[in-house]
Amino acid sequence: MRITDVHLVNFRNYTDQRVKPGPSMNIVVGSNAQGKSNLLEAIYTLTTTKSHRTNRDTDLIRVGEDSARIACSIVREKQNDTELEIILSRTEKKIVKINRARHPKIADMIGQLNSVIFSSEDLSMIKGDPSERRRFLNLEISQLSGQYAYALGGYRRVLEQRNALLKTLKLNGGSANTLPAWDEQLTAFGSIMLKWRWDFVNRLRSLAAPIYHQLTDGSEALDLRYEPNVPVRENETVEEIAARFREALVDARARELARGVTVKGPQRDDISFTVDGLDVRYYGSQGQQRSAALALKLAEIRLLEDMVGEPPVVLLDDVMAELDEERRSHVFDLTFGKCQTFASATGPDHFPPDVMAGAVVFRVLKGEVLRQ
């Protein structure tokens, strides 16, 4: 899968910019705050319809403008070529177009373009708050499954309503007789999420272990495990998970009413990372945490390739300077010549000569992209 054309209009600091990337390595260089990351962000936004840097779409619109437009053309091995377009507005709802046809459901865009982004924030995912690891799960699984994206949207809405109800009951009392109906809705959506997360983390687990082994020259072994808030067992159906989730909610009823908030469910999941039996979330060295994050991202590239049937686009957002030479070479070994890659950096010095030789270099200056 590769992108042949990107068009940005009033996106972040760009006014009207067309970029025609090369089929393999694209190196985007420039000083800080010129728009390198914004270009990568635009590609990622076309992947999931949401930015990885902000939850507010209006942040993406150029200051002083009412709307922004991002579009790209994609060439795929197994499907027809596709044009994707997102129009963001300060006053109206987001519009998505696939092959110039408007789609009323924004989620339809998800899965059209597959990309894996690796930014400096991802390097701190392992030691960060569990919410960052859940965010990772949501973004990545949504790319793979429309069903997951649908369940996640439904789950969030039900959770909001159910929490509003629990809060009212705590503050004002009243009848809790609508809770079972909300429980049924929460567990129907939540069990789909739990099942997908279980499968996703277990597949990542077997892919990340050998990569981490390589990264550390065979000296350390990584294990990652899904830590679901509601227990999930192997080969369990969504219905079985939903039944256990419902029981957990009934058991937690008194606690939920006392606290006025939902205490059970995938909004409290986590992933654990252990190296040689030690939990690196809390006890790992910075080097171990970075290697684990890198192994996870590289595993994800492989997983997307397995599940989608062709390699995803790889976005390396300013991570070159953060990685040592050894780790950098592993990244290139796994992606160079295989995945179309966009790598941003302040200068070209972090790229090995063979990568530079096959790369297209773009220089970004004050919101303008020039092919070198």
Partner: protein, 202 residues
Amino acid sequence: MHYAKPLARLVGELEKLPGVGPKSAQRLAFHILRASEEEARMLSDSIIDVKTSISMCKICFNFTDQETCDICRDPKRDRSIICVVAEPRDLVAMEKTNEYHGLYHVLQGVISPMEGVGPDQLKIRELVGRLAQGEVREIILATNPTIEGDTTALYISRELRRDLPEAEIKISRIAHGMPVGGDLDYADQATLIQAMQWRREM
């Protein structure tokens, strides 16, 4: 913008209406200003009239200008079946089909804790009361297939099953899924997932 005071007031009032922005409000206000006094009075009278003479049907809570609505009074209607909808406009949509000949029950909303709407704010107790009279054999829950509409339908079906365990009442939910004449290729994923979930045997 500089309007004479009475005109500014009219524009301001019109802007409060749903779907009317500043531009439309201005256009409507100028239209009213140019119309004859008689036309303007007909409009203002009809607004007052609708507020003073329309109330809710004592039985089904549809809008009516009498004690009970035309549908509840119609002797040709099938009294053994009730279609439960959220809003009067949903009833109007259903009536347009000319295919349904039972009675209705308008809940006047859906359960939404975020907006402070619980079962007590809706006409659910009144629905249970209607069923207790024993004439009804089937309930069709026709709230919208949204999170809140689905939850409301779930809640009502649970309540009815609990309150009327021995009564032989069939409770059904309207089907969700592909629109008629729809194209699978163009359907959004949520709709396709629902259509698969609610499939039926042939």
